[in-house]
Amino acid sequence: MSSPSSDSSTPRGEAWVWFTGLGLIVGLGMVIGLLSLVILNGVSVFWAPHVPVAQIDDGRTVIGQLAQRRIRPGSLANAPQYERQYQVGLRELNGNSYLWVDEAKVKAETFPADILGLERVENGPAFVRPQSLRKSDGQVLAITDSAFEAAFQAEVAAASAVREKLVEITRHQIGDVNAEMEAARVALRRAEDLRLTQEIAALRLKITALEGRYAALLAESEKVVKGGAVASLTSRDSAGRDVVIPLTQVVRGWFPNRLDTWGRCQLFCSRVAEFIFDEPREANTEGGLMPAIFGTLVMTVFMSLMVTPFGVITAIYLREYAQQGAILRIVRISVNNLAGVPSIVFGVFGLGFFVYVLGGSIDQLFFGDQLKYNNNTPVFGTGGLLWCSLTLALMTLPVVIVATEEALAAVPRGMREASLAAGASKWQTIRDILLPASAPGILTGVILAMARGAGEVAPLMLVGVVKLAPTLPFDTVAPFLHMDRKFMHLGFHVYDLGFQSPDSDAARPMVFATTLLLIALVVALNIGAIWIRNRLRARFKGASF
């Protein structure tokens, strides 16, 4: 029954197919472009390229890793001239780690095999030509010695072990003692105020004991520092100056022009591992992001744990119990609109309500002594993990409510009727039939909420995320999980590196690496949730809904 007119309308339909396809292509292109940009830039941070020695027109010599190449500002568009940025390191001597050089003025570039790259604890990296190594046993090895490289790496490893031990003592153990001391001092002030003679005596004893432990730890750390002679490396920098670097300062050393591919891969892996598992150094521009990863993860998990029950219960009430009518419609519209409120508004609400009102009252009620005897230092009355999770839970609540309502509505009516006809009460029907059947839909909502929450930064800045947290929110001191503590967050870290870093050149690659990590974390969380959802779905497979 095809008429000529319906035939001629077919090609017009085709045009729309192309048009909608175009939308998909643009969308896909943007996603792929974004991901490849972040991945390329993020991954290349950890890859060690060859390091040139460049001879410049004006007689200078530059040793450094190529960081960027760009069209020189002011050069003509039809005859572009480039300039290069070298990372030369040795900030203490050069004043700046990075150097822009006109490409036209670079006379020659060579890649000598003896260039050594060093990552250091302070003052950023260094690129030097080593001359001799003074080992910790006093023996001096010249660069020409065949045992030089092995000896150098062994000394670096030994020095790293010492440094790690030192960090363990000074940062973690002494930190714990300090925290306990702080608590004991507050308790003592209280006991003195209330004239609790017995307690005063006990606390004084405790403080003395803690002071003893502190002194012992300090002595131990000094011993570690002084124990054994320190190996050092004498090198020549690009200007021909002799530079002596103690190996305690060196995190990692490599010969960039000598490494084979396998060696480069090993170096890459070791840097990635440091990035993921270590703590940050040098104003967050070096070292690892473990605290931020951990903070993001814990915060997102808590947010999900809070938003899921709350959202599901609300949705059950709205869909199953509330009187359907005008008021409910208004409530529903309001809830949906809550999803469109800018996130910073939630941050302000979190600060004003959760932190000041709720946290303040908690402090008044439960931590009155703490406030009174510790210079009014708030416990929950300041930003922290709990308030961040709650604020984001509130922000993502509409997502979960809407998803749950839809999932409940999608449960076939027959199933609900069968349950009621079997003599189940309304609540039993909800609990045993409706909730299990809508679990996959609810989880889809939670996944969306998690994806949104994990990447959110603005509200967190107001309610408890910091640039550098001294301690993780989780440790070995009861109650183990410290919901009142401030914490680090990957999203905020990106912002902080990108806009607040004192050394923007050094921070730039880290911005990409951190972004990549944030994306990876969100993806991992989502995959986890999707995996759970699919397992749930498998149970309903073949359902003739």
Partner: protein, 273 residues
């Protein structure tokens, strides 16, 4: 089935055994009218259903068969804006008695729906659902109830080796028999069936009809059907409805052989409907 009755499940059985002897009227519907909002769906229905008999409701679509059936266990309470007049009593007690909880009514009146609706749970959990919501925890009681109901629903041999598998893996006919097993697991007195075979093939339909014959020994059954043949095969009495009114109610034999109303005759001979 006193042989398989055990103390815990016998509590569920409300029916005194003495009463089961005489075939007295069990459900009686008196001058019953029913509205969905402003729309009157049932008008002046009066009929008595004796116990342990099968009564078929027939009539053209939209004549109110399902509505009446769903009122017997008050499933229509789920619909907004309903109202009724007259009364329905089961074993002498009004189903609208304020002292009677809807839940306990539904426990005494099982229901099988037109579209089979197993829960997305295991076969076992589907069957024992009604017992679970009554708070039965004892594994042996549940096991036994599961087996007896599945046997009565003629499904036991087909599923006994896969009780823990999802019920959604069964065929259409099996699913409907599972729904029957589920409806009789807590031993209701009455079984309501709303076109239970309309989505099934002839073989599955045959099985379910056989089943109805057997279940009649223990349950009072009310079945809505679109098939004259089915009504004639399975029921003892038949009620014919038209536009919300009860046109004729008599023994099945009489209705099909010698109906007293012209409309009934027209309908069963296929002249309208």
């Amino acid at each position: 089935m006193p042989a398989t009755m055990n103390p815990a499940t016998s509590r569920i059985q409300v029916r005194p055994s003495a009463e089961r002897e005489g075939r007295k009227d069990y459900i009686s519907i008196r001058d019953y009218g029913f509205w969905y909002g402003q729309k009157k769906a049932l008008d002046a229905i009066s009929l008595d259903i004796p116990e342990r008999q099968v009564v078929a409701f027939i009539g053209p679509s939209g004549c109110g068969k399902s509505t009446l059936l769903r009122n017997l266990n008050r499933m229509n309470d789920l619909v907004d804006g309903i109202s009724h007049e007259g009364d329905i009593t089961i074993n002498g007690r009004s189903i609208y008695d304020p002292g009677l909880e809807v839940i306990s009514l539904r426990r005494r009146v099982g229901m099988v729906f037109q579209k089979s609706n197993p829960f997305p749970k295991s076969i076992y959990e589907n069957v024992v659902f009604a017992l679970r919501v009554m708070g039965v925890r004892d594994r042996s009681i549940l096991d036994e109830a599961c087996e007896t109901s599945l046997r009565k629903a003629a499904l036991w041999d087909e599923v006994k080796d896969r009780l823990q598998d999802s019920a959604l893996g069964l065929s259409g006919g099996q699913m409907q028999r599972l729904c029957i097993a589920r409806a009789i697991a807590n031993r209701p007195e009455i079984l309501l069936m709303d076109e239970p075979c309309s989505a099934l093939d002839p073989i599955a339909t045959g099985k379910i009809e056989e089943l109805i014959h057997e279940l009649k020994e223990q349950f009072t059954i009310v079945i809505v059907t679109h098939s004259m043949q089915q009504a004639a095969r399975v029921s003892d009495r038949t009620a014919f409805f038209y536009l919300g009114k009860q046109i004729e109610y008599d023994t099945t034999e009489k209705i099909f052989m010698n109906p007293s109303q012209a409309q009934t005759e027209a309908y069963i001979s296929g002249r309208f409907g």
